[in-house]
């Protein structure tokens, strides 16, 4: 699916402005390439990612500010990785999750980004660069970004052990995931991941049917219940996988789960319809349930969060002109406006300083400092998200990201894990 942003309806003042912006933008490119005849045309970046990160407003603003035409290619999380590996020529910029890197990098289809060309490279949040929040180390189980961020050189197919000048992905968005609950349909507090497997919620719980993420949520619950202790929840041994799947099968046979979901919208429907009152959920899904006027809480839990992070990568096959444009776009992306736009949907951003500058102080206080909203909080599209006085579930950035326990991951025993997961579905 391709989304093209174009102005329609003939020549307007706006389109003339746009066109002149484009010419101005093209002028910059002309100096770089030295081929004025070709450079007349706007450079197009084919931007591959999931639909969640592809805001039409960002493409439009980039078009105005840089004269770069951003052409979105929206696919599912799994398809992003599949496409990078099977069709490396079909995009110029990919926004993919860090946990896909152990699969993507050895394929030789993506290359490192030169930190010297990224103006704010040093300012990228410490949680991504070092795995620390406010100076404190956080949980690094799974594929933590800090472990897969650096490359020894531009075209390396293995990760560097220590910080270098070449980065695998420049972060776009990241967040800490937890369980979503319907407080209106639940008696008593939910404080632990163990609640996911608590017989109290029999027939009213749901988990993701995306094996690599679903098994980690299950592991959080099993460990919280005190059944077993994992060496690394994001990289289990065969015995750990067997034990986890056995526990899941037992819960399934006992009728614990109402349904499993793979698509973001399915989780929204399950929650909104009351079929499910507790489930693994993504932050924007909780927001989507709430905008329907239904109570839904992104419940912080004592064992901490399961985090994920997504970032920009470049395909090896990229042309010089597109490569320059991609660096220009990434620098623009980190400079504030785009970050603020995404932060208003609940995501965390790569460079916090610029995001703060681009947001209203009351917005920053609500989204990042965990303070009660001084005014009504609106989504970027103007929809009301929270009334004045509300606070963000889980509190401030430091409280949420500081309590990350593990990261989305691809395990070494992935093939075995998927076979066992299919066993669980068939049980």
């Amino acid at each position: 699916m391709t989304i093209l942003k174009e102005t329609r309806g003939g020549v307007t003042r706006r389109s003339i402005l746009k066109a002149s912006a484009a010419i101005a933008g093209a002028g910059v490119i002309t100096k770089v390439t030295g081929f004025p005849a070709i450079a007349q045309e706007k450079v197009t970046l084919r931007y591959l990612s999931t639909a969640v990160n592809q805001s039409p407003a960002i493409a439009e603003k980039a078009g105005e500010d840089l004269g770069i035409k951003v052409e979105y290619i929206a696919v599912t999380t799994d398809d992003v990785a599949k496409r990078v590996i099977t069709q490396p020529n079909s995009f110029d910029l990919v926004d993919t999750e860090y946990f896909a890197l152990p699969k993507l990098l050895p394929s030789g289809n993506i290359m490192g980004l030169d930190a010297k060309k990224i103006k704010l490279a040093d300012k990228i949040a410490s949680v991504i660069r070092e795995g620390t929040v406010a100076g404190k180390k956080i949980g690094l189980d799974g594929t933590a970004p800090a472990e897969v961020l650096y490359l020894p050189d531009e075209e390396a197919t293995e990760f560097a052990e220590e910080p270098t000048d070449f980065l695998t992905l420049i972060p776009t968005t990241y967040n800490a995931d937890t369980l979503g609950i319907r407080p209106d349909l639940i008696d008593g507090p939910v404080e632990s991941w163990a609640s996911l497997l608590d017989p109290k919620f029999k027939g009213k719980a749901a988990i993701l049917n995306i094996p690599s993420i679903g098994i980690m949520d299950a592991a959080m619950a099993i460990e919280a219940r005190g059944d077993m202790k994992y060496g690394d929840k994001g990289n289990m041994t065969r015995e750990e996988i067997d034990a986890t799947i056995a526990a899941l099968i037992e819960a399934k046979r006992a009728g614990q789960f109402r349904a499993f979901w793979t698509d973001f919208n399915e989780s929204v429907n399950l929650m909104a319809s009351g079929e499910v009152v507790i489930q693994s959920m993504w932050s924007p899904a909780v927001t989507a349930v709430r905008t329907q006027g239904i109570e839904c809480k992104y419940q912080p839990l004592k064992e901490g969060y399961r985090a994920w992070a997504s970032g920009f990568g470049l395909p090896v096959a990229i042309e010089d002109r597109e490569k320059d444009a991609a660096y220009e776009f990434i620098n623009w992306f980190l400079s504030g406006w785009a970050g603020a736009h995404l932060a208003k949907q609940g995501y965390y951003t790569a460079v916090l300083e610029t995001t703060k500058e681009a947001m209203e102080p009351y917005e920053w206080a609500y989204w990042f400092e965990g303070k009660p909203a001084e005014k009504d909080i609106h989504a970027p599209d103007g929809k009301l998200l929270e009334k004045a006085g509300a606070t963000r579930d889980g509190g401030s950035y430091d409280e949420r990201m500081g309590r990350v326990a593990c990261w989305n991951a691809v395990m070494d025993e992935n093939i075995y894990m998927i076979r066992k997961w299919n066993e669980f579905i068939a049980a």
Binding site: D78, D79, A81, K82, I85, P102, K103, L104, P106, S107, G203, A206, N209, P211, S212, K252, F257, R258, A259, F260, W261, T262, N269, S273, G274, E275, V410, N414, I415, I418, R419, W421, N422, E423, I425, A426, A427
Partner: protein, 319 residues
């Protein structure tokens, strides 16, 4: 009427074969033999490019090795061993593949029996009880109404109807027939069967109706004159004559249900396994060779089923 309804059924049977056979039978001096091949060429070409070649590729890839990010040409049977992992070890439980096929087989049996019963009844009503052609056409169109929306929308619409707080449960609660919502209405075997029957009954109605319309009415009169009861006419005259229709309908239903994973996924809350879903999960994790091996096994199962069904009725002779 009969002619128009014939067309889709014939397409369903085997196009190329028939075209050739007919031209052969009616050949006139001014039509050279190669014309028939030329007529069959476009569909043959489409089949070759978009069906035969991908199928060969799938078959070849099913013997390859794979890692997380690559597939390598090889001739390894490991993928097939993995498909049947634990199936012949003699352990107590069924292996994943057998359990999955067994569950699929269960749905095939339920859905086939129900669509046949419902489809036959509808077709019988349309063919023998409705006297005028315009009315038959009108009622036939009514049967297709569920197909005016997309498959996925139709399935999602079941949720507000069958859900815990859905219409059916609310109605039953209001009438006092039950005192707590029925959980098994949605995300259960029942829900999957219901949705499948709803989706595929029409595939049974069309060919059976078509066969019934071709029955010479004087045969039924003759049966009546010879003293046969209504039931005897049905079992001795009508059912034997609509066998090809039943068979074609059955092939549609059985093959579609065997390969279906969307309906089973959505209506079963993804808690019920299907071969298609297993293949999809493997493809999503770039395990193309084992997914290919699964696809080949599925294809073999479907082909054997169709072969078995074709042995019951000689479809070429009957048509």
């Amino acid at each position: 009427m009969t002619e128009t309804l014939d067309a889709p059924t014939q397409v369903g049977a085997s196009n190329a074969d028939k075209g050739v056979a007919r031209t052969g039978a009616r050949r006139t001096s001014w039509t050279p033999a190669w014309v028939a091949y030329l007529q069959a060429a476009p569909i043959a070409l489409v089949f070759l490019l978009f069906f035969i070649l991908p199928l060969i590729a799938t078959f070849v890839v099913s013997f390859w090795n794979y890692t997380e990010y690559s597939i390598e040409p090889a001739f390894a049977l490991t993928n097939y061993q993995d498909v049947f992992y634990g199936c012949f070890s003699g352990s107590s439980g069924l292996c994943t593949t057998f359990a999955t096929y067994l569950s699929t087989l269960k749905f095939v049996a339920i859905v086939w029996a129900m669509t046949l019963a419902i489809g036959f009844t509808i077709a019988y009503f349309l063919a023998f009880h409705i006297r005028t052609l315009p009315m038959q056409i009108a009622l036939f169109m009514v049967c297709t109404i569920p197909f005016w929306t997309s498959n996925v929308i139709r399935m999602i619409s079941w949720i507000p109807l069958l859900g815990r707080n859905g219409l059916v449960n609310e109605m039953l609660l209001a009438t006092g027939l039950i005192d707590r919502p029925l959980e098994w209405l949605l995300y259960s075997d029942f829900a999957v069967s219901l949705a499948l029957i709803h989706l595929y009954t029409l595939f049974m109605v069309v060919p059976i109706f078509n066969s019934m319309m071709r029955i010479d009415r004087s045969l039924i009169e003759a049966a009546y004159d010879a003293g046969a009861s209504g039931w005897q006419t049905l079992t001795n005259v009508i059912i034997p004559l609509v066998k090809p229709g039943i068979l074609i309908g059955s092939i549609f239903v059985v093959t579609i249900v065997t390969g279906d994973y969307l309906t089973i996924g959505i209506m079963g809350g993804q808690q019920i396994a299907s071969v298609g879903k297993v293949i999809q999960t493997q493809i999503n994790f770039l395990q193309f060779p084992i997914a290919a091996a699964n696809a080949i096994v599925l294809l073999a199962v479907v082909l054997v089923t169709i072969w078995g069904m074709l042995r019951l009725v000689d479809i070429r002779k009957e048509l």
